[in-house]
Amino acid sequence: MAKLPYLGTALTNLFRKPVTIAFPAGEAPAAQPAYRGRIAFDASKCINCGMCERVCAPSCMTRVAKPLEGGEPGDQEITFTFDMTSCTFCGMCADFCAKKAITLTEDYMMTGIIAEDFLVTGKVIKKAPPKPKFTPEQLAAMKAAAEAKKKAAEAAKAAAQQA
């Protein structure tokens, strides 16, 4: 009998599952571990240092500050917007963020029709620093008073020694 090459392979292939993944009919497969996909921004951890904006090569994030509604005067609401159509997913922002507020998730399914489909936003509340107790003028007056008191005490001491 003539030898039939590949017959075994052909027959086993008949009963094998297809290698084609079912997507888009089925579930999209998960990305590999440590895949750098869509950015997740945890605004509660962020301290608004601005490091992420500095290290981002395509300047994909914007920070917009506006006065906080219903807050103390000087409080600010800072809106972070990461534009995923601008990002190269290098991960620099996540590496440089001292507070680990930025993570790159494994979500790679980023398709959309309008620009808003690609934005990741977060709002950071920045409190105004506490008001100093005394104004500079008051402080200067207090300093002068203390100095005068010291001088008077010294003069009194010198007078007591001479007597």
Partner: protein, 155 residues
């Protein structure tokens, strides 16, 4: 006409056309990363041909145009000229971050993007580079939009 025959024929043609999407790919100065992923989306593992897609070599046969790259100075006029040859209705899909925004090249003297300066972009796929699954999702989304466009043309 008799029994609305003309309407039925148009509908049948539209239905058939929505299952036969010919892709045309324009590289507008891309680094080749997205181009490779587009080709990967056509391989047996992802198999965009299941959706009826076929890569064509001529813009005159295209239903869905995939654009990659940040639109360089050299490729801008060619991109516009090529897109002008695509028959209506068609869907413009941008693949990757570059055609949407310019990515790391934005602000360069040699970059004239983004693509939506020149043509309406129907679907954008973000990523640098997008995974083939994301490109497939973009093509599927474009197919749905194209179907609507075709129907709109007959009304």
């Amino acid at each position: 006409m008799l029994f609305n025959l003309d309407k039925k024929i148009t509908e049948a043609i539209d239905d058939a056309a929505s299952k036969s999407l010919w892709l045309y790919h324009i590289n507008a100065g891309s680094c080749n990363g997205c181009d490779i992923e587009i080709v990967a989306a056509l391989t047996p593992r992802y198999d965009a041909e299941r959706l009826g897609c076929k890569l064509t070599g001529s813009p005159r046969q295209a239903d869905i145009v995939l654009v990659s790259g940040p639109v360089t100075l050299q490729s801008r006029d060619r991109l516009i000229r090529t897109l002008a040859q695509v028959p209506e209705p068609y869907c413009l899909v941008t693949v990757g971050s570059c055609p949407c925004s310019g990515n790391v090249f934005k602000g360069s003297y040699a970059i004239c993007g983004p693509v939506d300066k020149y043509r309406h972009v129907d679907v954008s796929v973000a990523g640098c580079t997008p995974k083939p699954e994301a490109i497939m999702a973009g093509i599927a989304q474009a197919a749905a939009i194209l179907k609507e466009k075709r129907r709109g043309m007959h009304e």
